[in-house]
């Protein structure tokens, strides 16, 4: 369970010992969990596990038999329907529209909670509608008839409708159901972006475990009640999943992949890493040197694998820094565009000394961060494990080719030389994040 930080006094959405049943059949039993504002949580469970019911309880459409659902601290059934709609938007799985409404007309309905039946649309509404159309990437569809759209487009329009509502919480029931893989990824990328940019609190019921692992930092495994709640590496446990889904599965990281995968048993897909091989004692055991997005895949993979790691120094505003803040146990920060400071370097040195391994991601080298490569070289010479993540390296033996790719992103005079010395001092080279994980084990 993720504890809410001290900054948010009451969680965005909270279930307190909620039970519900249709007739005598219990569907939701004694569920307690909280969503902090800005969290992005995936709700997993087999068909008929009660995921949709749980979302309906959250939206106040269903009334719990026991327990309370709180929206920003208030009982959802004490609030008017309109007040609930201002705080929480729901994107249902099934969504059929009668009559030939255009996309824009559908999205406009998202403004309903902000009006009574006779008030005229304001400039504020026009702005919210345009913003929602744009954010969901359906602006070019605005004048098309909704029923003529493809499944993926419709799903994006539904998201646009909920965005126009401008509610801080968004519940989605299987937003990727019946979509082909391209649209599944598009929808989830959109949700992740909105979660990042607007601090939208997202709770989405999902059936695809692999996509869930890739996009959601926190997962809730649900079957009548909460079976597991935590980061993907914790929830996507082969034993748990096999019990809940009543079919044996394997969990691990595939060669060439950067996130956990759930697989049927008996296939000969080689899992390069499986949970349990690495045990983290709570201390950051890996230090990641990255920047400019070069560390994204690596940090995601480490987080998925449940390996605690530290990262830095990174410049504030760098996408790697944003990600490290979310995923890393600790990260060292420098002001935007500033070179690594003496304090930053000292902090990095301390982390590297404690770490079991140092991973050097393929970040561009400049006068500002070249000292980190020097530091890594020093650590290697002191006997620490250093892994170079070089996706473009052809084979581990080909030193010249590797140094050529380093040279291409080296804007200092020393970069290539330092890498040559690293290679000469027997550091390890990984061509993919999966290989890097393998080398850690």
């Amino acid at each position: 369970m993720v504890s809410n930080s001290a900054a948010t006094p009451s969680p965005a959405l909270a279930f307190e010992s909620v039970s519900f049943g249709y007739g005598a059949r219990p569907v939701v039993r004694d569920v307690t969990f909280q969503l902090a504002a800005g969290e992005m949580v995936g709700l997993l469970g087999p068909n008929g596990a009660g995921k949709s019911t749980l979302l309906r309880l959250g939206a106040g459409t269903l009334c719990p038999a026991r327990g309370v659902v709180r929206l920003h601290g208030e009982d959802v059934h004490r609030l008017s329907r309109r007040e609930v709609a201002r705080r929480l938007a729901v994107a249902p799985q099934e969504f059929s529209v009668q009559f030939a409404y255009t996309v824009r007309q559908i999205v406009e309905l998202g403004r309903m909670p902000h009006h009574d039946l006779l008030s005229m649309p304001q400039r504020e509404d026009a702005r919210a509608i345009e913003a929602a159309l744009e954010a969901a990437g359906v602006e070019h569809l605005a004048d098309r008839v909704f029923n003529d759209l493809s499944g993926g487009e419709k799903q994006r329009v539904i998201v646009a409708l909920t965005l126009a509502q401008e509610a801080p919480i968004l519940l989605l029931d299987e937003p990727t159901a019946h979509l082909d893989i391209r649209y599944q990824i598009e929808i989830l990328e959109l949700l992740r972006r909105l979660n990042g940019e607007r601090k939208l609190t997202v709770l989405a019921a999902l059936h695809d475990l692999n996509l869930a692992a890739r996009y959601f930092p926190r997962l809730i495994l649900f079957r009548e009640t909460i079976v597991a709640d935590g980061p993907p590496a914790h929830v996507l446990d082969a034993g748990l999943l096999s019990t809940v889904y009543e079919t044996p599965v394997r969990v691990g990281i595939l060669r060439g992949q950067d996130h956990l995968s759930v697989l049927p048993p008996g296939q000969d897909n080689p899992l390069v890493w499986q949970p349990g091989k690495l045990s983290s004692g709570g201390v950051a055991m890996i230090h990641v040197i990255a920047g400019g997005g070069s560390g994204e895949l690596m940090m995601r993979a480490l987080a998925d694998a449940g390996v605690t790691f530290s990262a830095g120094p990174l410049n504030a505003g760098d996408s790697d820094y944003t990600l490290a803040q979310r995923l890393a146990a600790s990260s060292i920060v420098e002001p935007p565009y500033a070179p690594v400071s003496a304090e930053g370097l000292a902090a990095a040195r301390m982390r590297m000394v404690d770490a079991r391994a140092i991973i050097l991601c393929p970040t561009p080298l400049g006068p500002g961060n070249i000292v980190l490569v020097e530091e890594a070289l020093a650590a290697r010479r002191a006997g620490h494990k250093v892994i170079l993540l070089e996706p473009t390296a052809l084979s581990t033996g080909d030193t010249d080719a590797l140094l050529a790719t380093v040279g291409a992103r080296d804007f200092t005079t020393r970069g290539v030389e330092l890498y040559r010395e690293l290679l000469e001092s027997d550091c390890l080279v990984a061509k993919s994040v999966a290989e890097a994980l393998q080398l850690l084990g």
Binding site: R81, Q98, Q105, M112, P113, E139, H140, I185, E189, S261
Partner: protein
């Protein structure tokens, strides 16, 4: 499968770039605004057409009265202007006591049925929903049958309503109330149950009506007038009645206009309407009440006139789009024009005899509607 997953992962980051170019954005806004702006301008146009239809309908009939004469007679009624009568006094009586109430009544019937059609189609999410669904027509018919059976001593007038009109009105409302109560379970009224309960109640009421007709000897002589009533014809008995119906229809049309955004939300389904902050069950009840009131008002002066509640909303939806803010007033006007013209044709086609109005609305409206649908081709997808 796994390999494909891996491939898609590789292409995923490139996805946003392949999306539609941003350059299309400023272009899409202008035409949209323009199109919205011309649509409400249709309403004044329809008002003009309605008045033209009213004038035409008032002028023609078994006894023709020219539009100028009609205007002069009406102006004299204001007692402000006095024009020396150059027409026979009978013309004045025909116009004021017989034809004008009937023409106005026809407009009211059309407006009521048009709006009731919009309300039922929007609420039930069914383009086939007719305002005479949910038991209204069979309830009204049963009420009227009972009225025809009662001894003449009962034919008193209340607010200008004769017994037939009154019982038809009551029959329509009681039938809808019955349907609604039967369809409600645990304070929820699913629309499918509503439709099914409507069909079942209609069947029972029609059966009851048939039993009354076949078992009752008293009805024998009045069977023809009952049959004529059921096939529909505008029959306004007094100006008081016309006034009461006007008030009812006006209230209904305005209520429909107010409910319009809720009906738009209903188009997304009840659950989604709830997620958008609507108290679904309450709005459902109010919508059914308003629609039943409108149908009751129409049926009480016209008997059962079919097809109007289907043609008017669909014609408007086809040309103006599905949004109910515009659809409600437009359907009211189109329905009114349609029934006024149909009533005129019913009076003049076989003069001095009369065709039943309900027959004419189906006979004229049906082919016109079909032509419209075919002309629109695949563009119309309700």
């Amino acid at each position: 499968m796994v390999a494909r997953l891996a491939d898609s992962k590789q292409t995923a980051p490139a996805e946003p770039q392949t999306r539609e170019p941003d350059s299309s954005r400023p272009r899409t806004r202008l035409p949209q605004d323009k199109r919205i702006s011309w649509r409400p301008a249709v309403l004044p146009l329809l008002v003009v057409v309605l008045f033209a239809a009213l004038a035409l309908a008032a002028a023609y009939g078994a006894v023709p009265i020219s539009p100028l004469t009609s205007a002069a007679i009406l102006l004299n009624q204001t007692h402000i202007i006095h024009i020396q009568p150059s027409w026979p006094a009978s013309d004045e009586a025909i116009l004021l006591l017989y034809r004008l109430p009937r023409v106005v009544g026809a407009a009211l019937v059309g407006a009521a049925l048009g709006v009731a059609g919009v309300l039922f189609q929007g609420l039930l999410r069914n383009p086939l929903a007719d305002p005479l669904l949910l038991g209204t027509s069979s309830g009204a018919a049963l009420g009227a049958t009972i009225a025809f059976m009662l001894p003449a001593a009962f034919t008193a007038y209340w607010f200008g309503f004769g017994l037939i009109a009154l019982l038809a009105f009551a029959g329509a409302l009681v039938a809808v109330a019955l349907v609604y109560l039967l369809a409600t379970h645990n304070r929820r009224t699913p629309v499918v149950t509503l439709l099914l309960a409507g069909v079942a109640v209609s069947a029972v009421l029609t059966a009851a009506q048939t039993i009354l007709i076949t078992m009752n000897d008293r009805l024998g002589l009045r069977l023809v007038s009952l049959y004529r009533w059921i096939s529909g014809s505008v029959n306004v008995e007094s100006w008081t009645q016309a006034e009461v119906i006007t008030v009812l229809v006006m209230v209904g049309v305005i209520a429909g206009f107010v409910l319009a955004p809720a009906l738009d939300a209903f188009a997304l389904g009840e659950e989604m309407a709830g997620h958008l902050g609507l108290r679904v069950e309450r709005y459902k009840l109010v919508t059914v009440l308003v629609a039943a009131l409108l149908v009751g008002a129409a049926v009480s002066i016209s008997g059962i006139v079919g097809f109007v509640g289907l043609v008017a909303p669909h014609l408007c939806r086809l040309t103006l789009g599905p949004r109910h803010r515009l659809l409600v007033p437009a359907s009211a006007l189109v329905g009114a024009i349609f029934v006024v013209v149909a009533d005129l044709l019913a009076r003049v086609l076989v003069a001095p005899a009369e065709l039943p109005l309900g027959v004419l609305t189906a006979l004229v409206g049906g082919p016109f509607f079909l032509w419209l649908l075919r002309a629109a081709g695949s563009r119309y997808r309700w």
